[in-house]
Symmetry: C2
Subunit: 638 residues, 2 copies
């Protein structure tokens, strides 16, 4: 009984669109203190500046690369085998894990033995699950608090820096033209970081300290050794998450794997598999084995499937088995709605849109049905024990987040947030990594209150917000209503932004929607990095602006977040290749190009030393005549 | 020699897409103190709440309607005749204008006599141009300062209020259910308005006072009597402008008229015709005669065409003739870059992207070529004389706005802003209406400085900004990079937001891009209204959220900014009509709908009086059992 006739394990293959290198881009690896610590970056090469503008060489630009081996032409990609286990040796070296004989969860064993799902199962996992040895704690927070800098920590330090210092220093030392370029590329507005502890350079020790302090997390389950370490915290680059997952109504395993590879191609830093449909277990296995980014889930969704959708039938035992099942597959963080307390539920009765978090509403229903606090809350320390045995991070769910502008920042929401802060302290007592989920729907002027209270209640544990949407009146455009709020809350201190696609409230996103959501959130996260003054964030803007000013069209496309779209838009009006070296564009045509006029102004000013106001005042009239005589044509023929 | 073979006056016709009424919408008119003062609004009707959710009637919602007669099924639309001159009588009654024998501008007369453009010309303008009688001033600011409340002022007062008070009061008085609904619909978060003078209700006297004070403008040239008055000022709803216009490379008159009707259909409050290509004069005439919204232009573009693109050949005489030509056609506001002073030009030499404003670069080139202050600056009072003779408003151009994050808030930009403030005082001395243009490209944390300095330097004259874009790295998505900045600066006090389309920096927008730009900016403007706490702004969010919660899919679509897109997205995954009354959607499927679960929670809580925490603590266990026994099915059959 294959519920997804479109998908069969035997002929699963990678989406061809996911393995094309991006234009003029090359994957490079920066090696750390050991040979097997190789941090990927994307190097975007650039054309030289045209002679009329100075003729200098433009060095390649390095950008953060979430796409994993898929964009490496050297890598062999076979989704039936999954990605290489790059962290396996680091995990083994620590000597604190044991290999299990098989899956510990009853459900996992049952699925693996079920002949009806054989044709769907991921076929080639050779290894057995790992778990911490008795009495050991394998969380990065635990190591950090012992003063240990793990390879994972060093990896993210290199990754966060993106070769910024080497880049600027290299330019500076390459001669006078390089020094000028270093000045131009390296200049950045001082930011406003609202009390964040921004470091000028990210060192492994800084990473360790932030993790020990609870201010950042590296979500990487020991059973997901395929993952490339990344860090989530307010003192690092702002990250984004992409949600994928099937529902009872639509989608197959193959489509979900394609969405994952598509999401990371465009910049998804983590992916949440929110499947609520058929074959959740098998879908997740395929995703994790092929994902170089951390995978998050909401285990209660699957637990609810196990009790046929009857929330009141959920039990701690079923939930516990689900946590272990997923932890042994390699899920890197769990959304757990342990802050939905019985006494908060009635606070939602007068809301405009009640409880909109699925997990929150399930738990609310459970609480009301049983008239007691939820098993998530009552067994929170038991959950911590599971988390630390696999290094799964908490993403403490905001089950009572507002679902409309009307409900923003209400008593229910803020009460739950306070409870999440209390739970954070408990998790930290166990050295378990934690981030906190946030809203939702919030008008602009109430966004900062969310951030400020989160910092206060949760002691700077990373905040991970869904948007927030800043108005409710634009269904079909909620990637934008929420991109506004996301950029702002990222600036204020949110560490990771959960994307919203154009289909939000209307349907399940397809691949196009996933891409639109990702790009929208990448630009929002980047706008936040700029506003915070994150070191080096402005290099890419500077490089792109320089390319734009110099009419290096290809470079302008390639330095952008979506080269394909930029090229497509340009070509709609000026499709010829020659137009891409033209010193004008379709907006203004050759006679009106302000950038071209500016270059004339600049050439003139530079030639005559006009940068001093005083010089300008004297004798400028003569020079003006020369300017006109010299031929001040706006458009120079190629 | 018809340069646009696709367009011929003889068979010009309205775009069929522009004259469809929006779904479940009806155009209504609210009559003011005189019969010919009829203010259009769009009434969106709603379905009743389903019985399971309460069964109440949901009253229609009234929204601001920029679409003019096009969406009125009673109106006869013939773009060859243009729109009715609804303000003609108001203008005539004032007795301060005279009808001219013909066009005063030499260029205008020449074009009208040119047989080669006969086939392109707007065919049916019966009236002659108007001008203020000698010594008179026909600006709304002049009337306002005399204490006169014009019909235009009363019109915008009614328009801004959108029947808010009647709506809420009507509900309140309609019985207990209505009172409950009034409470729900009327509730709004107190905003943060940064010292704005927000009025609880907009009265004609308030409008007059704001205009007299210079804090708001009504751009409505006496030669554009077809326009429906609208107001731009920080104490009113935030407005948006859509740019259209051909270039030397692309587009025809017909396409530009279609873009205008398309732009106002989706919410463009004003339209700027930025044509720089062929037949600028004739294109503008077609647009104005058919536009119910104010039309703005940048006259220097056309003046430059008249000197074959050689900026240094521009003269005051050519520019003056262009102003009069356009003023007599009915342009409502002119962008004039009079703040580009000679001494500011060298300040741009070390910029990343120099001067990116076309008008700014033209004037900079002129200043350098002639080594003197521009004729715009030197003849500023002469320009004021023209403006007040037709009631054209200034939009003082920011010729030195930053074209990249790198250049944001630099000396050149802020120096020019100060000069614009000085020019504002001169214009006000002449009782000429003024708004101030603003950037551009600005990282989030530097946006507020732009607003604060503008308020200070320009004494609260309305600010009109282009975005600003908050990062440079997303060509193809600059409607979003800039929508973020637009929402924020709108919140801080900007009165009108100039849209940016996805094609920005890449090509000329087509109709799809125009729509995307408009909707993005409408939602940004609305987010700003919410954050400022503009009275009544939240009604539409509340209504849409209520519809969403109650699974009134059609109402959710229709209350949104783009019903067509919302419906299309929904139907991609659940296309059947029955799905639109389903109590679930494709995201979660029937078993997982959090809103449905919430309704169960709410019904239960309400039935048992759980809104009091105390009540909850007592005896809830018994009730919990009842809840389960009573059947807590998540999905109710229809």
């Amino acid at each position: 009984m294959n519920a997804n006739p479109k998908f069969a394990s035997a002929d699963a293959h990678v989406d061809a669109a996911a393995v094309q290198p991006l234009p003029n881009s090359r994957k490079i690896y920066v090696t750390g203190s050991r040979d097997d610590l190789r941090v990927p970056m994307r190097e975007i090469s650039q054309a030289d500046t045209p002679t009329g503008f100075g003729g200098e060489k433009n060095p390649p630009v390095y950008v953060y690369d979430t796409s994993g081996p898929y964009t490496d032409p050297e890598a062999t990609i076979d989704i039936r085998s999954g990605l290489p286990a790059l962290r396996a040796r680091w995990i083994a070296e620590r000597g604190d894990t044991e290999q299990l004989a098989g899956l510990s969860s009853a459900f996992g064993r049952e699925r693996d033995a079920d002949p009806s799902t054989a044709g769907l199962r991921f076929p080639n996992l050779q290894r057995k699950p790992l778990r911490a040895r008795a009495g050991r704690n394998v969380s990065q927070m635990h190591y950090a608090r012992q003063g240990i800098i793990t390879p994972e920590m060093e990896y993210v330090a290199i990754r966060e820096n993106q070769r910024r210092v080497e880049y600027i220093e290299g330019l500076r030392q390459s001669g006078p033209q390089g020094a000028k370029l270093a000045e131009l590329m390296g200049r950045q507005h001082p930011g406003q970081n609202f009390g964040a502890a921004t470091a000028r350079e990210i060192t492994p020790e800084f990473v360790r300290d932030e993790i020990a302090r609870g201010r950042a997390i590296i979500p990487n389950n020991i059973n997901h050794p395929e993952s490339e370490p990344m860090i989530i915290g307010r003192n690092f680059l702002v990250k984004i998450n992409a949600n994928i997952g099937n529902s009872a109504v639509t989608s197959s395993i193959g489509e979900e794997v394609d969405k994952m590879t598509w999401a990371i191609r465009w910049g998804g830093d983590t992916v949440m598999d929110l499947s609520t449909g058929k074959n959740i277990h098998e879908t997740r296995e395929w995703i994790i084995r092929n994902s170089p980014v951390p995978i998050g889930t909401v285990p209660i969704y699957q637990a609810l499937e196990k009790v046929n959708g009857k929330a009141e039938d959920l039990t701690w035992e079923i939930f516990r088995d689900t946590l272990i099942e997923q932890a042994e597959q390699g899920v890197d963080y769990f959304t757990i709605h342990a802050g939905v307390l019985l006494r908060y539920v009635p606070m939602t009765a007068n809301r405009m849109t009640g409880i909109v978090s699925r997990g929150g509403s399930i738990m609310a229903k459970w609480c009301l049905s049983h008239h007691r606090e939820s098993f998530l809350y009552e067994h929170f320390e038991d959950i911590c024990e599971i988390m630390k045995a696999y290094d799964v991070a908490f993403s403490l769910g905001d089950g009572l987040r507002p679902g409309s502008i009307y409900d923003a920042n209400d008593e229910a929401q803020l009460s739950e947030l306070k409870t999440l802060g209390e739970l954070t302290q408990i998790a930290w007592k166990h050295d378990v990594q934690v981030m906190i989920e946030g809203p939702g729907h919030v008008p602009m002027h109430l966004i900062k209150e969310n951030m400020d209270l989160q910092l206060e209640y949760c002691d700077e544990a990373p905040f991970y917000t869904l948007g927030p949407l800043t108005t409710d009146i634009a269904p079909g455009y909620d990637h934008i209503t929420s991109g506004i709020g996301a950029a702002m809350i990222g600036w204020y201190g949110t560490a990771m932004l959960c994307y919203v696609t154009p289909k939000e409230h209307l349907g399940l996103p397809d691949k196009d929607d996933v891409k639109t959501g990702i790009i929208t959130y990448k630009l929002a996260a980047h706008a936040a990095d700029l506003a915070k003054g994150h070191p080096g964030a402005q290099i890419r803007d500077n490089a792109l602006s320089k390319a734009r000013f110099e009419f290096r069209w290809e470079d302008q496309f390639n330095l952008g977040l979506d080269p394909d779209k930029a090229r497509e838009f340009h070509d709609e009006t000026l499709p010829k290749d020659s137009a891409k070296v033209a010193h004008f564009c379709s907006m203004c045509g050759p006679h009106f190009c302000s950038m071209k006029i500016t270059q004339d102004v600049r050439d003139y000013a530079a030639k005559e030393g006009f940068s001093e106001t005083e010089a300008l005042r004297k004798g400028m009239e003569v020079k003006a005549v020369e300017f006109v005589r010299g031929g001040s044509e706006i458009y120079r023929k190629q």
